[in-house]
């Protein structure tokens, strides 16, 4: 069980750092489809920011901010976005993940493709973030048993 | 040879399978209904098989093709004269054994009767399948089913000894069927067929060096069930089974399936011409001769009646195989005839042993003094059966032995003639003391009164004994064994 770490410096630095980490994570995500970066990297950073939060402020504080239920929903939602976009392409008569076929009001196929892959990245981002936190919480709270909640 | 397509052979196989299912569904609750299924199936099966005799005697064969098992091999039933002899024998005796079983099982109030009748019916299905198989793979399939369906019968008593006997039976038979499978596969790779052909199909199609190997493997494979001497040990152990099982399965269906398989291999896979040319038959003829004499000697020393019968069975089975191995016309005729005749004679003897056990719980030869006065019909039948096996005219055993001796002469092998004659002497030696003691040595304190086993047991055993007598006087009676056998021999030698 990780408890609150009574150290003002660490707490303050964490408080300062976490928003920037999260902002950077979103930056990495949004640039993922045409430069290095992407959903997974962004998601890991986002997850890491929460993990930092847990380490500095303890498990109870973290639990108050983000519930396991929400994490499950995020994870599933992320995966749904991912496979859903693919499936929409399938429904529109293209192949699976054929972004060019997505029904977006944009002028050219490459733009539609870019938006499509961004959507995918967002899905991956959500999923990875949730799962990272999930794994960490599960391991950190090993003494509480592992049943369906 | 003209071939007719018909579902009758399939029907003959399936009828007892269906009966087996019905028996299982009926269960212990309605015993009469359950036994009715057995009897009904037996009668239907016999009439189906019997109705096939007509076309066979006209020189045609009846065939059912079911489906292709593997490319080039079909699950196929074909009734030819030789198969019909075995089919008639087994299905005919099933009717009698069913009646006998009912009496035996009810008198002894045996447990697990449903399983017993179920396996019995299943075994008969398999036996019919063996009799009518058109190729070696089909034969193998039914052979395996027969093995497994008789296993529960051997282990029926569920005592440690019975279980051990069952295990021994499985070890012997499964190992042997492995040998069969091996040679069947090897032959199939080289020839592309496994269809039985009168006179054999291997000549010129298999590598010369492999022939002795295949012959040895196939003969030992089927020879386990036929209890050839070094691999006979399971048969006496299996005598722990209930007597009807010993009677039908270990004197008729199972061991005869082994003999039948040997004969199929000798006459329909290799063929007399090929075997004579290669001289392959001789070592095996010596081996079975040894079996004949050794089994006879061992039988002399057995005090347990069923064990004595078991060794006598081993002796007779090898006589049949020796007849076929002589490869002469009369030898083959004698072998096939003895296959049928021995069935009737031996089942009589087993029936008698069972009847004695049910009535008196006596299993030892030395306890049977004076039993002939208590159970005159049973022991009368026993005497007839014993005389038949010894080859005393006018019983059917005489006819087949006559042909066997002729066969040895035709093959110019005097040594085997001597074997046949010695074995007849041994038969006399181990059966006649029983008959003599039963009738002429009075037991000490036992009062003299007629006290027979239930009618359901006495009728079958009298029937088989009398039928042996009839066959001896008129070999073509009812089932026309003699004509059918001649038909088979003509096909084998004519085709070869």
């Amino acid at each position: 069980m990780i408890t609150q770490y009574e150290n003002v410096i660490i707490k303050t630095i964490c408080r300062l750092l976490i928003p920037f980490i999260q902002l950077y994570a979103i930056y990495v995500l949004m640039h993922g489809h045409y430069s290095p970066g992407g959903g997974f990297q962004g998601g890991v950073m986002m997850g890491a920011s929460f993990i930092l939060l847990v380490m500095a402020y303890g498990l109870d504080e973290a639990r108050r901010r983000i519930s396991v239920k929400a994490l499950t929903i995020y994870a599933c939602l992320g995966l749904f976005i991912y496979s859903g976009i693919g499936a929409i392409a399938l429904l529109m008569g293209g192949n699976y993940l054929d972004y060019g076929k997505l029904p977006l009001p944009l002028s050219s196929i490459p733009k539609i493709r870019a938006m499509g892959i961004l959507g995918i990245e967002i899905g991956v981002f959500l999923g990875v973030m949730a799962i990272m936190i999930f794994i960490f919480l599960a391991i950190a709270s090993y003494d509480t048993g592992g049943k369906d909640d | 040879m003209e071939t007719i397509s018909s579902i009758k052979p399939l029907g003959a196989v399936l009828v007892s399978l269906i009966a087996a299912m019905l028996i299982l569904l009926t269960g212990d609750r309605h015993r009469n209904l359950r036994e009715a299924w057995t009897l009904l199936a037996a009668v239907i099966k016999f009439s189906l098989v019997f109705s096939l005799a007509g076309p066979i005697l006209e020189g045609r064969s009846v065939e059912t093709t079911l489906l292709t098992l593997v490319p080039g091999l079909k699950l196929q039933l074909r009734v030819d004269a030789f198969g019909l002899v075995f089919g008639l024998l087994a299905s005919g005796l099933w009717v009698l054994t069913s009646i006998y079983s009912v009496g035996y099982m009810r008198s002894l109030q045996e447990h697990a009767q449903t399983r017993y009748f179920f396996c019995f019916a299943l075994a008969l299905s398999a036996t019919m399948g063996i009799a009518f198989s058109a190729n070696l793979l089909t034969l193998y399939i039914f052979y395996e089913i027969l093995t497994l369906s008789t296993w529960p019968l051997v282990a029926h008593k569920e005592t440690p000894e019975a279980l051990a006997a069952g295990r021994k039976y499985l070890v012997y038979t499964l190992t042997s069927s492995t040998l069969i499978l091996f040679s069947a596969a090897a032959i199939f790779v080289q020839t592309g067929t496994l269809d039985f052909t009168p006179g054999g199909f291997l000549a010129g199609r298999v590598a010369e060096g492999m022939l002795p190997l295949f012959f040895a493997l196939l003969l030992f494979g089927f020879g386990v069930k036929a209890a050839i001497m070094p691999i006979h040990e399971w048969l006496p152990s299996a005598m722990i089974a209930p007597t009807p099982v010993s009677a039908l399965l270990h004197a008729v269906a199972v061991v005869k399936a082994g003999v039948f398989g040997c004969l199929r291999v000798i006459l329909y896979v290799f063929g007399p011409a090929l075997l004579t040319q290669k001289g392959l038959w001789f070592p095996f003829a010596l081996l079975v001769s040894f079996t004949i004499l050794a089994a006879g000697m061992i039988a002399l020393g057995q005090d347990n009646l069923k064990r004595r019968l078991a060794f006598s069975t081993i002796n007779s089975l090898s006589i049949i195989i020796l007849g076929a191995l002589l490869l002469s016309k009369s030898g083959i005729t004698g072998g096939i005839l003895h296959l049928a005749n021995h069935g009737y004679l031996k089942i009589t003897l087993f029936f008698c042993a069972g009847a004695i056990y049910v009535k008196t719980r006596k299993e030892l030869v030395s306890q049977l003094n004076g039993i002939g006065r208590r159970m005159p019909f049973t022991m009368g039948a026993f005497a007839l059966g014993a005389m038949g096996l010894a080859g005393v005219p006018p019983l059917n055993g005489f006819i087949s032995k006559w042909y066997l001796c002729l066969g040895a002469l035709e093959a110019h092998e005097i040594i085997f003639l001597v074997v046949f004659l010695l074995s007849a002497l041994l038969d006399v030696a181990f059966f006649f003391p029983i008959v003599y003691n039963a009738f002429f040595k009075a037991a000490k304190e036992e009062p003299f009164r007629c006290d027979e086993a239930p009618l359901t047991m006495v009728i079958p055993l009298t029937a088989t004994a009398l039928f042996s007598l009839v066959l001896g006087v008129y070999p073509d009676a009812l089932m026309k064994f003699f004509s059918i056998t001649n038909q088979a021999v003509r096909a084998i030698l004519g085709g070869g």
């Binding site: 045409y34 290095p36 794994i135 391991i139 090993y142 592992g146 | -």
Partner: protein
């Protein structure tokens, strides 16, 4: 001889790393050490993949002005593949840690021989 060995140094590095990981997986009694060995093992392969994508003088595979030819960039495909492999490795580690927790909860130790002793 040395040259030919040194010119393929990336192979040597990955093989040495892999063997270290392999040794830890096979030789160590502590389950966490085994897990660490597994991670080293996987990382070795990831490094190997990344090294095969690199070429001398190649640059980041982002399309740039004045460099129209693919030959000027390093091969991005192995790197992309390794992204997936890293994901796999992370999830494997996650599952393995979860299993270790189960083991710890049940046996109160992570030494393999002690666990085997208590199972008997």
């Amino acid at each position: 001889m040395i040259d030919s060995l040194m010119s393929k140094y990336n192979y040597w590095i990955y093989i040495v790393l892999m063997m270290i990981g392999f040794y830890a997986m096979i030789g160590k009694k502590n389950l966490v050490k085994k897990l660490i060995g597994m991670n080293i093992f996987q990382t070795a392969i990831i490094l190997y993949y990344i090294s095969i994508g690199v070429k001398k003088g190649g640059t980041v595979p982002v399309l740039m002005e004045g460099l129209p030819h693919a030959a000027a960039y390093v091969n991005p495909l192995p790197h992309v593949l390794m992204l997936t492999a890293i994901v796999v490795s992370v999830s494997t580690t996650g599952v393995a840690l979860a299993v270790l927790l189960l083991i710890y909860r049940r046996y109160k130790t992570l030494e393999e021989d002690e666990i085997l002793k208590s199972m008997r």
